[in-house]
Symmetry: C2
Subunit: 422 residues, 2 copies
């Protein structure tokens, strides 16, 4: 058992209230939150928070971790040129071991920025799972299948293999997007989802072009089309959703779907600003993700929370558009729920001990008026002093305890990157 | 003398090329950049950069440092309510000593995020100067006078007092804005600027309302109006400039003025996105600033560089809109020149030793494809390991060497904030 005491706690169990008290972990779960009994049990470790903040860790509800090798590889170029000349040809050369190393590099960044779970759509789920499990981090694999119906067997096989793979690794049905899949493949996935009572996820309406071309091809938007196909009979969600219109958002609300917004990537690639304010008002569930490191380029949920709220102010021309607290929830509890991690969302007894400690004694968080809004508007990963996943401390005070030696990962990643991109 | 060796150096003397080599400082100036002679002199200290990056420090070309006490005080409220109910009434209660303490708090944030100079428009220049000099940081005071012509005497007196106040502190003529000053005051300032051959600065076209109301009042935009008044005969610049139109930008170009953009503040307050891409294409000098901590809320030039470029992509619907390198220059050399710090802009022999060290061995900056663009798109203040101003190391590896004890500053700032805001 580990005891955190003398701190402030943002449980997110009800609202964004910060309370004083202690938190105990027992194995991978939370054993106590709040007031402690007079008789304390024996602990492996007791951590005096010295007034600092304990809160649920960030969960990154949309990423492609293995793309770290293309970070800052091709900047300041138009989207289509970037994708077709600077991403796809290089991804085609990746080996499973490459993805393993590049995912390790991403994990170092996740842990140091307080993220303990990634909803990871990438090429080789087995090696992504391996890197994650070895580090003690949580991953929900999401299939990103594209192409024709013949790929349904591979998808079903992966689903069977990974759905209950490990306490830290599960799997969700998904496909890349409408514009990269055949109608037959989508129908097969819908059948599978219905048979398995499984939620389904995909990129959706990320660019205006994609959204419009779907309408031309299918007579309706991606969201309406997917609902009609029966893809979402057991829930799920969509990534990006920049161009979701009112009817699309109604589909999301009706089916209890999660909109996973990626504001940094959408801004950098000039895709636009997702209608998060409308979503929130209309009751659509919101989560946040970074998208891959080639298009973001950071894997930093602080940035997403911040952009999530300030870009809405630009979009709506209203300095009070989307409250900061909504984005804090979308980056933590919301993201966890979006990826099916229903016991990793809040700090409550019996939940998984996936949490972070924020050092409030940094100048950017002083003076203390409003801790939660302060985190969104001026917090950053430099404020994180501890990251715990499933009850294990994986990062503390600048040091990693996840079995990786950063310099070795950097050297290996650099060597492989050089080979792939030369 | 201090020797930095075994590193990479971004001098910004010509372009954004990173070179290998050494840098020596002698007193407050740079004594060598590049290759070292065989015979080395004696150094006070030798710093092995281990391949990490030495670059010009950030300069914050628009801020109100003393406003730290209102950081996160009133979030998610509309602009007018925020300004008139949550800012002005509380600022009216500030003492000189309050500003001194709140500026110290800002300085801690500047130094830990690699900023060595602030162009500071706030209420009590004397105490801002004192806090800055005591810490070894550079400040260019900018008058923010408002009201009627009777204030010209106070402005002239401050100008005389502070223009050559200290090697670390100078002063620039300025006034708050068109909408808070009388025509008579602006004419007096123009006369003073002409007599003193001095540049002039002010908030300009920050909001659409301000821009439009100036046109209604004066028959032309603020930029055209100020040029007609002769305010800029000896240069200067304007802060924000979100609503500068083509004619306004022509005024800026014609007079060699600096547009100091504050993208974070403009986004958070829903003011809009400044036309930086147009400015750059048309040859307007660009600099970046944070604006005050009440509207930003961070004092972090990494955020400004990042937003400076990605918001242009949204604005122009073009993923190649404004190059990242332009914003890196605007946050360093550009900002220095905007505030008249012509010997603090680049790393060249004879220039002031105002510089920072970036640890490139952080996961967010790996692998290394393009160091400079990497800094803009995924760099952050956690990557800064050393901040030097005028040849003195003021921050290194998380510790301050500027004479301030952070916990004492936080406690004092919190106490005073409580008194002021209760």
């Amino acid at each position: 058992m580990i005891r955190f005491y003398n701190g402030r706690i943002l449980t997110l169990a009800n609202d964004c209230t910060v309370q004083r008290g202690a938190l105990w972990t027992d194995g991978d779960r939370i054993a106590l939150v709040g007031e402690e009994p007079e008789q304390l049990p024996a602990f492996e470790r007791e951590i005096d928070l010295q007034g600092n903040l304990l809160m649920p860790s960030f969960k990154n509800a949309h990423t492609h971790s293995g793309m770290t090798f293309l970070r800052a590889f091709a900047e300041d170029v138009p989207l289509q040129e970037w994708l077709f000349e600077k991403v796809f040809p290089y991804e085609a050369k990746l080996s499973e071991e490459d993805v393993y190393v590049f995912t390790q590099l991403a994990i170092l960044e996740y842990l140091s920025s307080g993220t303990t779970a990634a909803f990871d759509m990438y090429l080789t789920p087995g090696t992504t799972a391996q890197a994650s499990i070895e580090c003690g981090m949580r991953t929900v694999l999401c299939s990103g299948v594209s192409g024709d119906a013949e790929d349904i067997d591979r998808l079903y096989q992966q689903y069977q293999q990974f759905r209950n793979y490990h306490p830290l690794v599960t799997y969700r049905l998904g496909f890349h997007a409408e514009y990269t899949s055949s109608p037959a493949l989508r129908r097969e996935i819908a059948k599978l989802a219905q048979a398995e009572h499984a939620p389904v996820y995909m990129h959706i309406s990320e660019t205006q072009k994609e959204h419009q071309e779907c309408i031309e091809r299918n007579g309706c938007s991606p969201a309406v089309h997917f609902e009609e196909l029966g893809l979402w009979e057991h829930g799920g969600g969509g990534f990006h959703g920049v161009w979701l219109d009112e009817a699309d958002r109604a589909v999301f609300r009706r089916n209890g779907l999660w909109l996973v917004s990626c504001p940094a990537s959408n801004a950098k690639l000039a895709s636009g600003i997702a209608p998060l304010t409308d979503c929130e008002r209309e009751g659509v569930h919101l989560a946040l993700g970074t998208d891959g490191p080639a298009s973001n380029n950071a894997l930093d949920m602080f940035r997403e929370m911040y952009l999530g709220t300030v870009l809405q102010r630009i979009r709506c021309n209203d300095a009070a558009a989307l409250p900061a607290t909504s984005m804090l929830k979308a980056a933590t509890a919301g993201a966890a729920r979006a990826m099916g991690l229903w016991d990793c969302d809040t700090l409550e007894v019996g939940k998984q001990a996936d949490l972070i400690v924020i050092d409030l004694t940094h100048p950017n968080l002083q003076p203390e008026h409003d801790i939660v809004r302060g985190l969104v508007f001026s917090g950053g990963k430099q404020d994180i002093t501890l990251t715990m996943c499933a009850g294990k401390i994986l990062y503390e005070n600048g040091e990693y305890f996840c079995g990786l030696y950063p310099q070795a990962v950097y050297a290996e990643a650099q060597k492989r990157t050089k080979r792939l991109t030369q």
